[in-house]
Symmetry: D3
């Protein structure tokens, strides 16, 4: 099937894509139109759907997969598609993963893996808090992106990033026996769970009001506090203070938004493997789009460095 990237200027396009953005607007000629952005795995292209009824606005909302026919053109220096025909595909038969990036592991498999992982959290308080919060935010956790841009910015990205970190945590705790494996894994499980509340949407990710004003670190701390109260776990216990410290300090530095720097061996390691997994994801994403023997585009989240593909 042809992809957005395959067409050149002036070409007739005919392909399937998902609607990434959809705004219903009034043109200066008094007519309504939909300002759309189409996306498949190869890239994005905007287009206007003219004389749109309110019904059209409902049919072509964010997340709808469509058959798109039109002509590729340049407008104000940027590519757009002049739409000839637009038809929604049946959402039941569509395989979303053909259009947008998703986690390379199936949701069900990830859910099963986490069930096994919880068994490794051998401390009762930590285990109960983790299970409680994974149950409370189950759906959001397995569908959210891990970030608005930068790393793991796709559906299921949060769960996939968390899973990768747990795998690193297991291996590192095995290599260095002085590390409390249960604490490290509990911290890894919870560290970014506040993003389910900080961000909204999986295709068109935005910050929520709470996300903007409190941040995901404070949000997950609040959730742990409320979970402990619900579960009647003593918040003043060393265990609970340490678990909260793990998530509070996981950005590593005050200037990155952690109100405390790591003061536990496990908290330092948690920060390090968060950086490691996020870096590998960002670099790999950029290299995937790079030709062998060339440098990638500059990566914002990696201090604007370009990486070499060999």
């Amino acid at each position: 099937m042809p992809k957005i990237i395959d067409y050149k200027n002036g070409d007739q396009m005919s392909l399937e894509a998902v609607i990434k953005k959809s705004d219903y607007r009034l043109a200066k000629n008094g007519k309504n139109f939909l300002s759309l952005v189409f996306e498949d795995k190869s890239g994005q292209i905007p287009g206007k759907f003219w004389d749109a009824s309110e019904d059209d606005a409902r049919r072509f909302k964010v997340g709808t997969v469509v058959q798109l026919d039109g002509k590729r053109d340049i407008y104000q220096g940027k590519p757009q598609v002049i739409i000839n025909h637009l038809g929604p595909l049946d959402s039941n038969t569509v395989d979303m993963s053909q259009f947008i990036q998703t986690a390379p592991i199936k949701r069900l498999d990830m859910e099963n893996e986490f069930e096994d992982i919880f068994l490794e959290i051998t401390n009762g308080a930590w285990n109960r808090v983790v299970r409680y919060l994974f149950k409370k935010y189950h759906d959001q956790f397995f569908t959210s992106a891990a970030a608005k841009v930068n790393h793991h910015d796709f559906q299921g990205g949060l769960a996939y990033h968390t899973l990768s970190m747990v795998h690193l945590a297991e291996k590192i705790a095995d290599q260095y026996p002085q590390i409390d494996k249960a604490l490290l894994i509990a911290g890894a499980c919870l560290h970014d769970l506040g993003k389910t509340i900080e961000l909204s949407g999986t295709l068109d990710v935005e910050y929520t009001f709470e996300g903007n004003m409190l941040g995901h670190i404070t949000i997950i701390d609040e959730e742990i506090v409320k979970a402990a109260q619900e579960l009647k776990i003593d918040l003043d216990s060393e265990d609970m203070v340490m678990l909260r410290h793990m998530v509070l300090s996981h950005h590593g530095f005050l200037e990155y938004g952690s109100p405390e720097r790591p003061k536990l061996l496990e908290a330092e390691v948690l920060h390090d493997i968060d950086v490691l997994d996020a870096s590998i994801n960002m670099i790999s994403k950029a290299l995937d789009k790079t030709e062998k023997g060339k440098f990638s585009e500059r990566i914002f989240g990696m201090d604007n460095r370009a990486f070499y593909k060999h």
Copy 2:
């Protein structure tokens, strides 16, 4: 009455002072002794009380006011007192404010002032949360210092600093009507309340375990969350998110430990008046000890600057 600072090396000392530190230890000769630090408003001097019984350790604990007789000496380059006699004074008749710095306003007067202040918090949710937490930590709030060192580092310092800030807040909100006075005052009341849990002791101030691992900003946020649950106030309401944002952002910058920078006009002002009152307190404290026409000692909390006394 003579003060610690009045004595020179070799002098016989005879004065009243408060015990600031007290450690019960075993000397290399097998005997027990108390390692003490005496303090009055003029300064401090350490001394050892030899052949101390466990009973002595109980009699001469931190906060006890004593009649001290001994000889001022130099040991390893620093002054100490060789104790001849040490006798506890009757704590009922002693006026503590003669020995240690205290707030220049009486506790009772401060308590009454805060009762009036609460009336200015005209938003129901904020008013109830502030009253609830002031009731919960009433005693600690009126006896705590506002810091281990730096500004308002004395008994009642936390309440006095908070009161000064509220007075600034009232005047500034009156001058700029676009400021939400109730929000600014509610934020000022709560901003440092977490220090009642972050720090312990009023004479010999130390960080608690929670203080070290979570910090006073996260601690007060936890307290607001628990108060809202107790009072059945919706934590997701704009009012509660804004109140929490006020305390979370009051350090102004991420690198000073706030997980979010101010994003409300009132939050920015709260940060500014916190800095203003703390700076005036630190500079004034240093200038009080400086001769007219001279520069003060360098002030650590003011980027090590010396200030001129005119």
Copy 3:
């Protein structure tokens, strides 16, 4: 009366506005035109006046209020007006404050307020220097903006910002009796007076040559030196050195252009209230243009933060 912001693309515009910029140029077709920018309180829009004579260039200079008729269009992605008719209004009957932002207090009222303020400067040397310089730069002070962009960037902004700071100074000096009120107010009066020389123009503000090469802090210091010579006040006296230190250090940090950091309690406070008043002005200006429940545009002078309007 309709405002610039009220018109959409393709609309016929008919409104009154002031000319903010006016450049007389030669087009590639050999004809002259005026490149104009129109402004009212709702915003700005550029437009070209074709076949302009030199006489037109004189009639439509910066500051002229005009009746503007034309069509709103988009050119190279930005709005412009295609002018049909342009007619100057009678400058005698026009109320400028309807077109450009001005201080919310009338100039005469501000002048009277400053007369009262001078009475609070009870030190003879400071009082005479302040009065001398306010007389010397009287007109410029009451018409200048306080900055090219950022805060109080409007006609009379300098006087209004100075007045707000004096009001803060009065209240703070009353709350903290250790502050020398006369010194703080004298410093507040003079702190930005050098901007009358650093900047030129009130509508189309630019840096002067002296402003660019010396900066307003050095310029006001020079003015104080010359005033003292004129008034036969001893420049080596503690009073004069302290007054100069107040203005030299009011940016607070070397990296913000102060050659000395504050070394007087009053100098530290002056810096703090300068920041406070400027911040409140910048945030309020942005929030005025923001819908309730939304975040403002990012504010350059506030480290690019967006603020929430509640």
Copy 4:
């Protein structure tokens, strides 16, 4: 066997220790003495050996294990031992690891492990360079410390740190198949090998002249260049440029002494696991000396943070 730390002031000491520093000097009374520092795993203590002959200076040189008898005393505020008797032990029967920290794995075992590791470097050029340089600096590599202070500052520390990093590299390359395992392991093997030339001594580690003027990063780059010439490997090949980039960039940031920041996925990962292994080593070393439920001493290499032992 009693340790240095077991003795209190005034105690008679009798123990075995290794000589960590030894300086032959002339006292003001015209007599020679040895200024010694004794060390066992519990700590250090200095002492003077009076009336020392040149023969004594030879007998009691750095690295000698001795039977030490004397009295613990305080001199200028610090503990020292007044030596009664000092006798060298037979170096053939002494188990050095009882006196100084050494790698927790035996040298022979490490040597064997590296033989296996080389098999994983499946690129011919890299494999030959690594083998060549490990052969050239074989002894130094297995006896050097990895640093003068901070992390892995003990005999064999360089090899042990390198080995730990290789183990991390293997696991991470297995988890992320996009990583070139051979390149990552080759980089890990060589990254700190220049320290064999940058530092001298294993007990009393100092910077060499080359170390001071060139630094270990430039030194290992030079070694790779010379190795390639010796082995007739093309220095301009992509393989050799990438290998050199791995070691040049492994400090991650210019301000930490890398002349280039990482521009290969493998180079970024190499930097991350260097930080990870060094951090774990530094924190663990500090926690080993800390009581449960207390904070460690502040760790210089970890931005002066104290870590909590749970």
Copy 5:
């Protein structure tokens, strides 16, 4: 002869210029074209050469001087030339220096000057290494630019910058006799020689693969190492370590890419005169394009400052 800058929009252009960039592309209408950039000393202008054959692509490659006839137009807000006729000039009769900036001294004169300079390097090892490397990279050294942008970014710029620095070095060494003149001059000669390998092209300068991955500092260090081996000079000698230190540290600060900061008086001076000559070059280049009494454009390499032309 008319220059690019002399033409206004709509003018017929007729002038001689050099081709600075040349890309052979396929238009959406299926025809081939050359995307060209023309340059003379007054500036640049792009233009498209339509229906270009592969032969045209060879005739109009980078560096060709052409007779250009066409019309100046605006496309997407930027000037371009609509080409009517394009004819290559005879490269044998063309004086390149009329079209592109070149060093103000002729290459032959510079070559002779360097011959004299080598005589001042009175240390045998340094003299031989410098002569060896100047011979090895003779042509590149005298044709390279000293940078991609910023200072001395023209053909021969590297040699001219080096020569200016040597002249400064001579004068400073004469004024301060404690400076080792031979070392300072040897360091100046070699400091940027690695740029002959780091950069490619003289008109359209780009980083090479080695340049990107190793940087010119490491590259010249490698060259010195190889030269010493070739010349059988002891790399461990103080002389060679010092020479390498000179080039390694000449950026002065780690964050500017030097792996070591200067630790020799001569290395500190070398860094200072590098900054001095580069600054004078950048400022002078900007002032050359500035009218008297105006400020220049902002200079990127001078922290974005504008300089005043008097």
Copy 6:
């Protein structure tokens, strides 16, 4: 003649030295003493002169050269001399330069050199201002140090540093003809002249009140303003604004206390040669005390680097 550095602990000292500090104090035994510091070119040693009369305090004031006899001892870990006899030498016959560092050029020679230099300042306004201020502060200029610590911290250091910079300025202006030599030299002459007012004393250098509160940059700017008024030179002229800019900007960066960064080619060069001459002086001073083949002590003013003596 023996020097301070030649004596070891316990030795009888007998030498000539200058008194660097002298404080008259009351001991705890009720007797007066002089707390003295003696200095010769080899170093310093403190000592107490017991039972000192007020007459003794006058005889042994700062700057007196004395015959000192006593015993070298250690007190609280630092060397001191126990004075047996102290006798003032005849100030008329004493050669001060044998005891304290002075400029390596005689004052008279420097005065003559400056007379020649003034001839190079070919701009009338600059020439008159420079001559006026050199006359006004003639004695102070030729006796002051250039700094309290760091570079040129000796009698005549200010004149010597200024002279060195002028020599650099002459050579650089000759090499780069685009530099306005007269402006550069005028700026060099005046740049540090404010230090004659900022600092007091030549042996025991301290900041004055004006120095502390205004800084030497603002002080020299004030002096130029007053000179221009005295000489009836127009302060608003381009010439005077540029001259003031030269001295205002010579620290190069705001964070080093310049209220403006250099915006003239000549101002940038002035800053660079100030850094160059100061660096050479600081490094040379440290290397003078260093053995060949060793590293110097760390130099505070050079970011704490140690330099290698070859």
